[in-house]
């Protein structure tokens, strides 16, 4: 049964999300609703354990291939797990387990919690589905399920801000998914198959140097559809509204989960499917524009969650910049920054949620002097702020330094300079936020604000410890990321493992 760990990592959260409404109806009748909450936490932890079980096999260089229904690919759907997949699956399941522990106390004052937990398990199942699958249309279907659950979670508290944010997110997200579907239909017409390894093999036979016009069209459609999802700069308009309106536990999952999955899909399309390292110039330019615009817009924000959302846009720019450099050091730096971004973004959004839970507002003009009331939250927020700006003993410094060195080595010193300037801007607006919330004069009505409860502090402290550990021992981070880098540039190994002996 344990050989079926890849498919169980998708099916167990999915079955959990089907069982949660039934358990919710039963427990509401007997007034024991804690059982449902603990059931959800148990399922997320079981998913994390399944991913950890698959980890040693993949890190030894094997690619796990699981065939659904014993059909041989390319006539059937298969799940193919290599180093890149397992890194993203580890990030997603880890952050989902921490978010479900965090929302035990955070969502205490909301009603309709049965639907909230159903959507949480559904979005976890679909994120695992996108990461672990080896079939292109299957990836699209799980991507749509993830997007739909995200639209519903953004509109969860039904005040007008949430609904407007959800409408905006939904229209732009559906447009992106439609463009992605158009790209898939062109690929099917060209090569007649939907398996990722098979498409990669047939495209490499057609040849990508020089790229024929139809392949350029396919790449353009797929990249546009995906960049709407990860909020690259011309298409980023939905992200600040959506992150401000959703409950903070969910926003931590979005910033660490859906963005990571979107970047994974982009890397899979560009590197495994097309085998093109020449796309680097476009990624560098778009990445640097995203970095700069995100940082400049974050400087003028007055609301904490919008500020963190723009800062998230800026960090995605760093990842694309690192990957776009094309050298080994650059790609490893970009992937390491993906891991770090998930950790400290989730930490910052959980701290913002703790402040909102105790105080009731996140407007920087109204807050002040909370470091006497909430000392642990202040300390954790400062750790997250220093980590995201790239200050030395934390993990942000390790990954950003790798990207700077890769930029100088690749001969593009201008972008390294730009990245350093944006780091300084990041430090500036985050220190402004820390100053406005925790230092300074405390208004009278915040006299009796207590510290955040322990079930909310525990995930935040775990993430802060990870920040410090990965910063003090950066070689540990590079060891985690190296199998992903090897899998990313090893297109032939992937095709050979999935299609078997060709």
């Amino acid at each position: 049964m344990i050989e079926a760990a890849p498919i169980l990592a998708i099916i167990i959260p999915l079955m959990g999300s089907f069982l949660t409404p039934l358990i919710s109806i039963l427990t509401k009748r007997y007034k024991k609703e804690r059982i449902r909450d603990l059931f959800v936490v148990a399922i997320t932890i079981v998913t994390l354990l399944l991913v950890l079980y698959m980890l040693p096999t993949v890190w030894n260089g094997n690619i796990i291939v699981y065939r659904l229904g014993n059909w041989t690919p390319p006539w059937g759907i298969c799940l193919a797990i290599d180093g890149l997949n397992i890194l993203v699956a580890l990030i997603v399941s880890g952050i989902a387990a921490l978010v479900s522990i965090y929302s035990l106390m955070y969502m205490k004052n909301d009603t309709g919690l049965g639907k909230y937990y159903t959507l949480l398990l559904l979005i976890l199942a679909s994120m695992m589905g996108v990461t672990l699958t080896g079939d292109f249309f299957n990836m699209f279907v799980f991507f749509e399920i993830m997007s739909t659950a995200a639209y519903a979670l953004v509109a969860f508290r039904r005040n007008w801000d949430s609904i407007e944010a959800s409408i905006k997110y939904m229209v732009m997200g559906s447009l992106g998914a439609s463009l992605f579907l158009l790209g898939i239909s062109f690929i099917y017409n060209l090569v007649g198959s939907l398996n990722i390894a098979d498409i990669a093999q047939k495209i490499s036979i057609i040849g990508t140097n020089p790229m024929p016009l139809v392949l350029i069209l396919i790449l353009a459609l797929l990249m546009t559809g995906l960049s709407i999802k990860i909020a690259m700069v011309p298409f980023h308009a939905w992200m600040p509204d959506a992150y401000q309106a959703a409950p903070s536990a969910v926003v931590a999952l979005f910033a660490a989960g859906t963005t990571t999955v979107g970047v994974y899909m982009m890397l899979r399309v560009v590197y495994t499917l097309f085998g093109v390292a020449a796309l680097g110039a476009m990624l560098i330019v778009l990445g640097s524009v995203t970095m700069v615009v995100g940082a400049l817009m974050a400087l003028v924000q007055r609301d904490l969650k919008r500020l963190l959302a723009y800062s998230g846009i800026s960090q995605v720019g760093y990842i694309l910049l690192g990957v776009g450099f094309g050298t080994a050091l650059g790609i490893e730096g970009g992937l390491f920054h993906l891991l770090n971004n998930a950790i400290y973004k989730a930490l910052l959004f959980m701290c913002a949620g703790a402040i909102l839970y105790r105080v009731g507002t996140t407007n920087l003009d109204e807050l002040g002097g909370l470091s006497k009331n909430m000392p642990i939250t202040a300390c954790l927020f400062t750790i997250g702020a220093l980590a995201i700006s790239g200050v030395p003993p934390f993990n942000g410094f390790a990954s950003k330094w790798t990207i700077y060195i890769a930029g100088i080595q690749a001969g593009k010193a201008f972008f390294t300079l730009l990245a350093i300037i944006v780091s300084v801007l990041t430090l500036a607006y985050l220190l402004k936020a820390v100053n406005a919330i925790f230092l300074g004069q405390r208004p009278k009505r915040f006299e009796n604000v207590k510290e955040a409860p322990m079930t909310m502090l525990f995930p935040m402290m775990l993430l802060a410890v990870l920040c410090i550990v990965l910063g003090v021992l950066p070689s540990l981070g590079i060891d985690i990321v190296t199998p992903a880098y090897n899998a990313l540039v090893n297109q032939h190994g992937y095709i050979h493992a999935v299609l078997g002996g060709i």
Binding site: W160, I163, I167, M170
Partner: protein, 117 residues
Amino acid sequence: MNVDYIVAMLMISFGLYCLLIKRNLIKMVIGLEILTFGIHLFLISMGYREGGIAPIVTGTNPASVVATLGVDPLPQALVLTSIVIDVCVTAMLLSLAIYAYKYHKTLDMSEIRRLKG
């Protein structure tokens, strides 16, 4: 030049125009629907084979005849899945439109947009 492809591309461009230019929320939903239908039409018409029959194995059409003469059934399965996804997204958009009407008594998007910057 296959007439299906021309009609599909026309539908996609009309849907995109309607989504971007119109200001009523229901008209934006209709535009998104037309866009999606155009893509589905394009996907189905890709499986066409000249002089083909329906890919159903019956008494008069055994499996060998269907394999050589039938049209491709895989795009039909893909489009069926995509229609289901589209139904879910449309249902959610219309529910949010009901909420918008409840709060503001109007469906004009330019009057009810408040979040900027």
